[in-house]
Symmetry: C2
Subunit: 340 residues, 2 copies
């Protein structure tokens, strides 16, 4: 079974964007607020909207995608905490409906109603709702709700602890994923995403978070940002800081996905990071949409790169399925219930 | 000949740090200002201070280091523009003295008196001084003088153009190198440095800077941040943005050093980036000081990794010497004058 742990809903119906425009217009002119949070999107429209994902999934040989709202769309820094909360509920509910309509293709992961300067503990009710009521198997946690200003405390700060306690209690992992950037220095998917991954990874080296939360699990997307390429640097920095070896300090709790869009990058990832810490993902349909003229295939058809790795079948199965079922135990339980 | 294009003066005499403390203390209490900018450091003390670098250089088989002030020490965000200017002059003068005392081992590169929110054109007099009077062959340009707040415009903004005009006129390259971070989210050498590289590279993709400055040359240090590891992503983003192929869009003007502290990283760099764009460097003595228990050698002994690459002799010579002489033509002229 091929599980893609990183897919965002990037082909949303126009009605969602129209709602968002009205919601934000309402900040300036309350007369423009949307009349209702019911978007009037039919099941048929929803199913039709994910056809691009399903087509790619089928063509590329994927079975199941862990599906969450558009990462750039979370835009936690926009508006107010109440706006973030309303928007989050709507986005998570759409994911839930798609996963209910197409349960063999999609399993849900949610966003949280974060807002810069507002304690993450305010997100606990929504985290409980999406896991307990909507059956989501994980959550995306934004390490920089300010959208490129980086004004909130680092992930190892006690500020974040209430959300970690809840993640452990619910036994769901968090993917550490920034949203869009309002800092003109940081291109959204070309700098802010990768910097977010690298920044979070280094924060984890600096802290001792997994001593306090031994069962907490983080997925660092986009192949871990710059971390695997600079693995020697990070091993060396940890050593200079008298931290344990990275495999002991972090790798029981930190996992990397395979959203690296060329073979040499995936080869490096597999060479440097233990196979138990690598989870298959493509982030399709996402940051990079084109076809690589050097291969004739889509850049984000990452299954091809993993297929090309020299790996034993057992290791390949871990990357494509086993690790996902271990890191997302609620996914495993769901699949077992379905006799998969 | 082995040229290390990226070394910082990180073993400065205590007198320099004492001066800096007094200089910054003077901001709060003018009575504490240093009495003079003459640090009273003897030639003997200067030569002694770089013994660690020279020992490593010799042991590892290097010949010449392109030497600049401590990158983290530039701290452009601290104090005032006048403080930055005074500090910069002192730091550059020390580099000049070392290069004069040990001309076979060190060639100078300078820092600039940048300050957040202050136009880079204010740095032109110091740039002219270090090149024309001190004989420096390049300069470090900080893309984020705010120290992790990223409040100045991106490198492709016209804000930076006066400094680019002068760089072209003087025919010296700039290494794009951030300084220390005052943002608690960004560990200095573990996140801010690598993010700075990645951010700058993506800005260059977004812009058309080298159309306006066809002879401008940038070195992106630390192996290009995350760019080579995500080379497929960057090729794909450029393609989606209707930019030319990266080799045409950037690689006539952008170069990467080899400050990547493990063999798999250097292997990836050499696989993905054309050999003409790779310049040997170690940043020794710098961010990572320890010995890698997996190899028994210093993490930052990057010459070992380059030696281990399967390369023809001509390509190896490019990385170790030829590319440096091409990218830093004033270095080439200097070496030719010395019959090297």
């Amino acid at each position: 079974m091929i599980i893609d742990i990183h897919g965002h809903y990037t082909t949303e119906p126009q009605a969602l964007h129209t709602f968002r425009d009205k919601q934000l217009a309402g900040l300036a002119d309350s007369a423009r607020k949307p009349g209702s949070t019911d978007l009037g999107i039919s099941d048929e429209t929803l199913v039709k909207s994910v056809e691009p994902q399903l087509k790619f999934q089928k063509e590329r040989g994927g079975d199941l995608t862990i599906f969450s709202p558009r990462a750039g769309g979370m835009a936690h820094h926009v508006g107010t905490e109440a706006i973030s909360r309303e928007w989050t509920t709507i986005c998570n509910d759409l994911i839930h409906r798609i996963c209910t309509l197409l349960p063999d293709s999609f399993v849900g992961v949610g966003q949280l109603p974060q807002f810069p300067g507002v304690p993450p503990k305010n997100c606990i009710p929504e985290l409980e709702r999406i896991v307990n009521k909507l059956g989501f198997v994980g959550v995306n946690l934004n390490p920089d709700p300010s959208g490129g200003m980086w004004t909130d405390p680092p992930l190892i700060d006690k500020y974040w602890y209430p959300i970690y306690e809840k993640l452990c209690e619910l036994d769901v992992p968090a993917m550490i994923h920034v949203s869009s950037s309002c800092n003109p220095n940081f291109h959204h998917t070309g700098a802010h995403y990768i910097n977010g991954d690298t920044t979070a990874f280094m924060q984890l080296i600096q802290g001792n978070l997994f001593k306090d939360f031994p069962t907490l699990r983080f997925v660092i997307p986009h192949g871990g940002g710059a971390a695997p390429y600079h693995w020697g640097r990070y091993r060396g920095l940890a050593q200079d800081m008298k931290r344990p070896l990275l495999k002991d300090h972090l790798l029981k709790n930190v996992f990397f996905d395979t959203c690296v869009y060329h073979l040499p990058g995936i080869e490096l990832l597999a060479k440097v990071i233990p196979v138990d810490n690598i989870l298959f993902a493509s982030e399709m349909v996402g940051a990079v949409k084109g076809i690589d003229p050097e291969t004739g295939h889509h850049y984000d058809d990452t299954k091809r790169y993993v297929d090309l790795l020299r790996l034993g079948e057992k290791d390949r199965e871990k990357i494509f399925e086993g690790n996902a079922r271990r890191v997302y135990p609620r996914l495993d339980a769901l699949l077992k219930k379905r006799k998969k």
